[in-house]
Symmetry: C2
Subunit: 172 residues, 2 copies
Amino acid sequence: MPAVGDCIKMLDSETKAVETPEDHAEELRLWLRLLTCTTLIEGEVRGRLRQRFDVTLPRFDLMAQLDKAPDGMTLSDVSKRMMVSNGNVTGLVERLVESGHLDRRTSETDRRVQVIRLTKLGRAEFRRMASEHETWIADLFADLTPKDVRELMRLLAKTKASAQKSAVRRKP
Amino acid sequence: MPAVGDCIKMLDSETKAVETPEDHAEELRLWLRLLTCTTLIEGEVRGRLRQRFDVTLPRFDLMAQLDKAPDGMTLSDVSKRMMVSNGNVTGLVERLVESGHLDRRTSETDRRVQVIRLTKLGRAEFRRMASEHETWIADLFADLTPKDVRELMRLLAKTKASAQKSAVRRKP
DNA sequence: GGAAAACATTTTATGCTTAAAACAATTTTG
DNA sequence: CAAAATTGTTTTAAGCATAAAATGTTTTCC
């Protein structure tokens, strides 16, 4: 049963409504749990990728983006999709070109733009990894019913929209 | 309406059931959405901490752990709680001791163990940051109803348990 | 009691990540 | 058309992060 103080707004000396220090403990706990789940799964995937394929998670993620874009992507596109900084992508791409997984060329129509693609080798290796990766994910989520999955998808979509709105409010 | 092939098990030449390559696309999409939500919120919190308090997220997280433990924690405890590597904590603590936010001493009873605590300065600064941080989180989750929050908490708890079980299956 | 196992932490080597500044090419606009 | 703004990428400097090996300490268990 909540205490009285939890539900009323304080009145100041001039009898105008004043914000009580609101209780946001529930949202905070939700955020920590969300973070815990992600960290747990991410760490597991990272370790398995390293053990099975000697590849890092960021490299895998970048290849995953390119696998969906047969005609290649620009570095900016990749950066936005992966939600990481531009400089980060520059370095990742450098190493993946070096190892022969990526092909990189300057755009014909805009000399600022770099277009990157998976090489044959890169695509083949990615497909091999992705297939196993999918089974890991399925296993990690194995205890969720199809209904749980649907419900989580819905609530996370709502969460994403809420967070995006809030982010935009700060920097318009 | 699902195609026939989605629901049947293939039969091999000797009429024994054979695993179809199962479709785990839903779980994969769920994982990506989970990751997106976390990355989005994490990036937002990171940026605000930097702008408002010139502090990094890992430093804040470490201080948050210590704020809950007035008698201090060992590096191992912190490492487990934060779900990061031991070496990582060593470096973080070094910098926070340097800046006067943490106090570190060798345990009286076990000379292997380092016990760290927030200093007065560290605690004061953390409290100031934490209070604002809580409002950011509330704002980021603002569009979720209390019921949404409860439901997400429940489903994420189930997800965490499932993932932990799967992780243990691999390395017992 | 002493060798072996377990534990807590640090070190090492490498790679990831960011924010901000710098650079270069294109587009906008007065 | 040229100055200014914008866009795409790279560089820089600092910090974060990991896995694996190394170091010192305590327990375990013959």
